[in-house]
C-alpha cells in the first residue's frame, strides 16, 4: 500500500471511530426518523383538541343553523353550542377555561350576518375558520335574496383557470420544475451543511497535527501535497459514509410511513431529467473539493487549535453568502446579480446549480461554471501545497491572513530581502 493510501485510510479510520462522528451520525439518523414521522407526531399532540364555543344568537336563529351545517362540513374540531346565558356569564366561563370562546351573531342593517368572536388566547386559526364558515353562510343568504340557484352560486365561486407555462430556452414540464426545485433545495442545504462540517473537520485535523508537531515527522516522510489530498479524500469518504447512512435511514423511515411517502412521490422524482441529478452530484463534489482545499490551506496556517475558528471564519462567510444568495435566487433566479454570482467559483456549486434546475440554462453556461471551478481548485491546490509546506513549519502567535504570504515565501528558493515574521528555528 503506498503512503497516500495509508494516510487516506488512517484519516478515514480514525475519524470513523471517533466519538464525535458516531454521535453526529446517531443524531442525524434520529432527526431523519423524527422528520419522516412528523405528521404522526403532530397529530398525536393535536388530535384530541376540540374547541368548545358558545354562540349568542341575536338574529333569531337565522344564522346559527346554517353556520353549524357549514362548519360541520369542513371542520369537526369546533363545537358550536347555542347558549342562553348573557355575555357577562359567558366571559366568566371563558376566563375559567370552560369555554374556548364565544361568538355573538347578529344581522346588520342590510339583513346580512355579522359576528364578534371573543376568546382568551390569540388563536387566529379558529377565528379564521369561523370567519370562512360565516362567509359561506353570507354567500348563501345573498344568493337567496338574488334568487340564484345553487349551481349558479357554485359557478360564481369557482376559481379562475390560470396556468403558468415557462417559455424558456429549455422547456421543463411542471412536474420537472417541482422536482428540480425540491432537488435544488436539498442540494443547497447539503452543500451548506457538509462544507461547514467537513471543511471544518479538515482544518481542525491539520491544525491538530501541526500543533502537536507530529507534522514535522509526517512531512519528512510524505510530501505535503499527498498529505493534503489524502486528508481531503479521507474526510470526503467519511462524509460520503455519513450521507449514505442518512439516505439509508431516510428510505427506511419512509417505508414505515405511507402518508409522507405519497407526499414525496408527489414531487415526481422519476420525471426529473437525468442530467439534473448528474449535475447535482458534480456540483456537490466540486463544491466539496474547493472548500476542502481552502480549509486545509487555512488549517496549515494556525499554530494552535484554538485559532482555527478565527481562521476559517472568512470561509464560513463565503458559504453563508452563497447560501443566502441562492435562497433569494430561488424566488428570482434570473436576477442579474444571481447570474454574476453563479460564475464566482465559491458560489458556483450552489447558485449555478440552482439556475440550471430552475431556469434550464444552456449547457455551455453550466460547463463554463464547472471549468472555472476546476481551474480554481487546481490553483488552490498548487498554492495550498506550497503554503501547507511553509505553514506547517511556522509557529507564530498571529493567525492572520498575512501568514499566507510568509508561508508562501518560506518555500521559495531565494526569498526577497524583505523581513518576515514568524521565522522558524
Amino acid at each position: 500500500m503506498n503512503k497516500f493510501w495509508m494516510m487516506l485510510v488512517h484519516t478515514y479510520g480514525t475519524k470513523l471511530k471517533s466519538k464525535s462522528f458516531i454521535v453526529t451520525t446517531i443524531i442525524l439518523v434520529a432527526a431523519i426518523f423524527l422528520m419522516a414521522n412528523i405528521n404522526k407526531i403532530i397529530s398525536y399532540f393535536d388530535g384530541h383538541e376540540v374547541k368548545h364555543i358558545a354562540v349568542l344568537d341575536e338574529s333569531n336563529g337565522v344564522i346559527f343553523a346554517p353556520l353549524k351545517t357549514s362548519l360541520a362540513a369542513v371542520d369537526k374540531d369546533i363545537k358550536l353550542e347555542k347558549s342562553g346565558d348573557d355575555e357577562t356569564a359567558l366571559k366568566k366561563q371563558v376566563s375559567e377555561g370552560k369555554l374556548d370562546g364565544y361568538l355573538v351573531l347578529s344581522l346588520d342593517e342590510r339583513q346580512l350576518p355579522k359576528a364578534v368572536y371573543r376568546s382568551e388566547s390569540s388563536d387566529s386559526n379558529t377565528a379564521d375558520r369561523l370567519k370562512n364558515a360565516l362567509q359561506t353562510v353570507k354567500g348563501q343568504m345573498v344568493a337567496g335574496k338574488l334568487q340564484l340557484t345553487s349551481d349558479k352560486l357554485a359557478l360564481l365561486n369557482s376559481p379562475v383557470s390560470f396556468e403558468k407555462v415557462p417559455l424558456d430556452r429549455k422547456a421543463q414540464s411542471k412536474e420537472q420544475q417541482g422536482a428540480a426545485s425540491a432537488l435544488v433545495y436539498v442540494l443547497l442545504i447539503a452543500i451548506y451543511m457538509s462544507v461547514l462540517m467537513y471543511a471544518n473537520m479538515i482544518a481542525t485535523e491539520v491544525a491538530v497535527e501541526k500543533s502537536s508537531r507530529v507534522m514535522e515527522i509526517l512531512i519528512s516522510s510524505v510530501s505535503p501535497i499527498k498529505q493534503m489530498f489524502a486528508k481531503i479524500l479521507g474526510v470526503g469518504l467519511l462524509g460520503l459514509t455519513q450521507i449514505i447512512i442518512a439516505i439509508a435511514a431516510g428510505v427506511l423511515a419512509l417505508q414505515t410511513n405511507s402518508e409522507v411517502l405519497s407526499f414525496i412521490k408527489h414531487f415526481h422524482i422519476s420525471s426529473m431529467a437525468a442530467s439534473t441529478i448528474g449535475y447535482a452530484i458534480v456540483f456537490f463534489l466540486l463544491g466539496y473539493f474547493l472548500y476542502a482545499t481552502l480549509a486545509a490551506l487555512l488549517g496549515s496556517l494556525v499554530s494552535r487549535v484554538e485559532d482555527i475558528q478565527q481562521m476559517v471564519l472568512p470561509m464560513t462567510f463565503l458559504v453563508v453568502i452563497g447560501f443566502m444568495v441562492s435562497m433569494y435566487g430561488m424566488n428570482q433566479p434570473d436576477a442579474a446579480f444571481v447570474t454574476v454570482a453563479s460564475y464566482i467559483p465559491f458560489f458556483t456549486p450552489m447558485i449555478m446549480f440552482m439556475r440550471y434546475g430552475l431556469l434550464g440554462i444552456p449547457t455551455w453556461e453550466v460547463l463554463v461554471g464547472i471549468a472555472i471551478m476546476i481551474v480554481s481548485i487546481i490553483i488552490l491546490a498548487v498554492m495550498g501545497a506550497r503554503i501547507y509546506r511553509g505553514g506547517v513549519l511556522m509557529y507564530g502567535t498571529s493567525s492572520s491572513l498575512k501568514n499566507i504570504k510568509t508561508a508562501f515565501l518560506l518555500t521559495k528558493k531565494e526569498p526577497t530581502s524583505e523581513r518576515k515574521k514568524n521565522i522558524p528555528f
Binding site: 503512503k3 495509508m6 494516510m7 488512517h10 480514525t14 491538530v208 497535527e209 502537536s212 508537531r213 507530529v214 507534522m215 514535522e216 515527522i217 509526517l218 512531512i219 519528512s220 516522510s221 510524505v222 510530501s223 513549519l393 515565501l409 518560506l410 518555500t411 521559495k412 528558493k413 531565494e414 526569498p415 526577497t416 530581502s417 524583505e418 523581513r419 518576515k420 521565522i423 522558524p424 528555528f425
Partner: protein
C-alpha cells in the same frame, strides 16, 4: 555512507539562520551539534531532512540528495514532541513506521521490543496524552528509530528526562551506533555530547565556530584545568603567572591555566604551605570550551 554538508546557507529574508556551514559527518558515528538557542541547529536539521529548501549549498547523503525516496533510511526526533495526543501508542507508532516504509507486523514486533527495553510495555494501548512527559519522549524516540534508520537525527533527545531515563536512552543511542547507524544530535547538555560524540560542531548565530574531532578540539584548545584540594588559603594563586581563571571551590580552588607547563611552578609553590590532598591537571571540559567560544561573545 557519510553525510556531507557543503556551504549550506539558509536565509529568512534579511536574517541568515545558517551561514556557510560545511561539514562531513562520518558514517557509523555520533556527531554532536552544540549551540545556544537560535544558533541554527534546528534549521540545519530541517534542511538535512528536506523540510526546508537551502538558500545556497548542498547536502548529500551517501553522494545523493535527501528526498522522499530516502525517507525510509532516515529517522527524526523533533525538538518538541510530535505525536498525536489522542491516538494510542501502538496505533500511531505503527502508522508512522509504515509511512517510513515498514510493514505492519514487523513494526508491531519491533515496538514490543522497544517498549520492553524502555520498561514501559504497559503503555502500548494507552493514549499519548495520558503519559508523562518523560514517557512521551521515550515513545517519540521509538518512533524515530523503529524502522532502523541508517541516519538518525535527534534534536535535544534528553530534554525533560530524569537521569535514569537519560541512561536508558544513551545506551540505546550507543547500541544503534554500534549496529551501524549514523547519528546526528544536538544538545545543550555538554556532558551528554562529551560522553557520546567523537566529532562535534559548535554553532553560533548560524556559523560554525568550532568543528572537528572532540579530542583534537580539546588538545588545540591548549588551556588546562587544575584542581587543588588543600587546607590553606589558595587566594595567592589568583595573581600567579600563567593562571587565567580562578574559582574557589568547597575544598580548594579550580584554576584554568594557559598551558600544561604552567602547572609545575604552581605545584612547587604549594609545597611547604600545608597539607595538599589533591592536585590534578585535567583536560578542559567541553563546557569550558563552549563558554570560551560562544559565551564570551554573548550579547
Amino acid at each position: 555512507m557519510s553525510l556531507k554538508l557543503e556551504n549550506v546557507t539558509k536565509r529568512f529574508g534579511s536574517l541568515t539562520a545558517v551561514n556557510q556551514l560545511s561539514l562531513e559527518i562520518p558514517s557509523n558515528e555520533i556527531f554532536g551539534f552544540l549551540g545556544a538557542n537560535g544558533a541554527g541547529k534546528t534549521t540545519t536539521f530541517r534542511m538535512i531532512l528536506g523540510l526546508l529548501d537551502l538558500s545556497n549549498g548542498s547536502i548529500l547523503w551517501d553522494g545523493r540528495p535527501i528526498n522522499y525516496e530516502t525517507s525510509p533510511y532516515i529517522g527524526y526526533l523533533p525538538e518538541e514532541r510530535g505525536l498525536y495526543p489522542k491516538l494510542k501508542v501502538k496505533d500511531q507508532v505503527v502508522y508512522l513506521a509504515r509511512l517510513r516504509g515498514m510493514d505492519k507486523q514487523n513494526a508491531e514486533k519491533e515496538l514490543k521490543k522497544w517498549l520492553d527495553r524502555f520498561q514501559v510495555p504497559q503503555y502500548e494501548m494507552k493514549k499519548v496524552e495520558e503519559l508523562s512527559k518523560g514517557n512521551q519522549q521515550k515513545i517519540q524516540f521509538i518512533t524515530a528509530v523503529l524502522h532502523k534508520p541508517k541516519l538518525l537525527i535527534l534534536d535535544e533527545p534528553f530534554s525533560g528526562l530524569d537521569p535514569v531515563n537519560v541512561e536508558l536512552l544513551k545506551e540505546a543511542v550507543l547500541d544503534l551506533k554500534n549496529s551501524g547507524t549514523t547519528i546526528v544530535f544536538s544538545s545543550h547538555r555538554m556532558e551528554h555530547v562529551e560522553e557520546l560524540c567523537e566529532h562535534v560542531c559548535i554553532m553560533q548565530k548560524g556559523s560554525p565556530v568550532l568543528s572537528g574531532s572532540l579530542r583534537e578540539i580539546k588538545r588545540s584548545f591548549g588551556k588546562k584545568n587544575i584542581s587543588i584540594a588543600a587546607d590553606f588559603s589558595l587566594d595567592y594563586l589568583k595573581e600567579f603567572p600563567g593562571v587565567l581563571k580562578w574559582k574557589k571551590t568547597s575544598e580548594g580552588a579550580l584554576l584554568q591555566v594557559e598551558t600544561e607547563e604552567a602547572g609545575q611552578p604552581i605545584l612547587e609553590s604549594l609545597i611547604g604551605k600545608g597539607f595538599v590532598r589533591k592536585f590534578s591537571i585535567d583536560e578542559p571540559s567541553l563546557n569550558d570550551i563552549f563558554i570560551e567560544k560562544v559565551g564570551l561573545s554573548y550579547e
